[in-house]
Amino acid sequence: MPGPDLLSSQGLRLDGRRPNELRRIRCKLGVFTQPDGSAYLEQGNTKVLAAVYGPHQASKSKQLTEGVVVNCQYSMATFSTGERKNRPRGDRKSQEMSLHLRQALAAAIKTELYPRSQIDIYVEVLQADGSAYCACVNVATLALIDAGIPLRAYACACSSSMAWKGGEPEPLVDVSHVEEAAGGVCLTVASLPSTESIALLEMSHRLHMDYFDVVLSRAMQGCRDIEVILDKAVREHLVEGWTKQDVVTI
């Protein structure tokens, strides 16, 4: 397979990471006061914001008696990509992303608890540097937790690609924009790592079936690593919120 040269002779990637290394993830919960829950997340240079409204009463035409309606909106800021976008939302790609986002998050939310209600999730990509969808799932999970909406488990997403190192296949985790643009395969997995279940699986380009398992397991490992990071952020947020409550009562 004459794939593009994504690994250097030292086995490092274009941005200097090792093949199994995630980009730095920094996040913050509760960034807005108006929505019920909100979060901000940076995954390398990919920066996303999420706001969650609800659960609130669904409109008559939409409401379901068996569960909550999950409504997602994915939008990319006009300044988020190298070339200025003229439609932040509503184009084909955003619509597809919204659907994918809903699929991943509806798998995590305990939808059966809130009949006749609706949850609105708005995600805005401020800067897109590869794996924007993954960052969106991760930030939406944080925003849902901030809103106090019951989840089965964390929903985490991670992407992985494929490179060759001395004739041996070497999967790459957390694909950046340069690696995406280089034209290699890109496998995106949204999963609930603590239950080992996959909520969404998407692949661009072609990959030989023999290598699929290693690429998938690398992406799943990435999801598990991300879950640890998100869990730490949630706990820090709880500690902060808790001491604040104590200060109020004294």
């Binding site: 829950g37 901000y40 659960p55 209600s117 106090g148 019951p150 089965r152 239950t195 902060e240």
Partner: protein, 230 residues
């Protein structure tokens, strides 16, 4: 010109807490196993999977005998009977008003659970149904008490007391409902001439005190005002 300027990244965490060294309770996050055994009852914020009790929200545990609940830091308002709420009328229907109370589903105010103007007590007639919009319109703010909670979690309100009813001339402030404790009294008259209604649903109404309380101090002012308008 060389002052110290600190520029922080948006994601950098700043802990404003004064008392950060006091001991913390144990926190639970979604999907975390609370207990592996089956001799506990699952309450709000928990679910059972693979014979173990797991948390579904991020927060602290509350245990009442065998019932385990996880309480999140903030969530939508969950009503209880007797709560004082402040809400906004959304819709006028056949025999009831739909009221928005920051709850998961819209609350309901029945025509039979309001005091008729004039205070007369009788069955509600067809004329009363036609006069509903005169009484409370879309967009009006009201204070009310939770009369009952339906099985799906939506609330039924009542305003059968003179302290409840339509609100006018004041400021509405919205906060997270978890910040408000349930107390005996949610109506406060402050010494500075301000009256406050602290709704359990996180809506706080601040208004000047009722005229009849102030009337001794400024009877003359009111008379002058009335004469000017006459």
């Amino acid at each position: 010109m060389s002052g110290h300027v600190s520029i922080r990244l948006a994601s950098e965490r700043v802990n404003h807490c004064v008392a950060s060294n006091n001991e913390l309770p144990q926190f639970y996050t979604p999907g975390e196993v609370i207990t592996g055994t089956q001799d506990f009852m699952r309450g709000h914020g928990t679910y059972v999977e693979d014979d173990s009790l797991k948390a579904s929200v991020a927060g602290v545990m509350q245990k009442v005998n065998k019932l385990i609940c996880i309480r999140p830091l903030k969530s939508r308002y969950v009503g209880e009977i007797g709560d004082v709420v402040v809400g906004r009328v959304l819709e006028v229907q056949q025999k009831r008003w739909k009221v928005e109370t920051n709850s998961r589903l819209d609350s309901i105010l029945q025509l039979s659970s309001v005091n008729l103007p004039g205070g007369e007590l009788r069955r509600r007639s067809a004329e009363d149904e036609q006069m509903m919009r005169k009484h409370l319109q879309e967009g009006d703010l009201i204070s009310a008490e939770v009369q009952s909670v339906f099985s799906d979690g939506s609330l039924s309100l009542h305003t059968r007391s003179l302290k409840y009813g339509k609100l006018s001339q004041g400021v509405l402030i919205k906060v997270f409902p978890s910040l408000i404790k349930r107390r005996k009294n949610h109506f406060h008259n402050l010494a500075c001439g301000v009256s406050v209604i602290i709704g359990n649903n996180g809506y706080i109404w601040i208004s000047p005190q009722k005229q009849d309380i102030m009337v001794d101090d400024n009877r003359e002012d009111i008379q002058n005002y009335e004469m000017q308008n006459a």
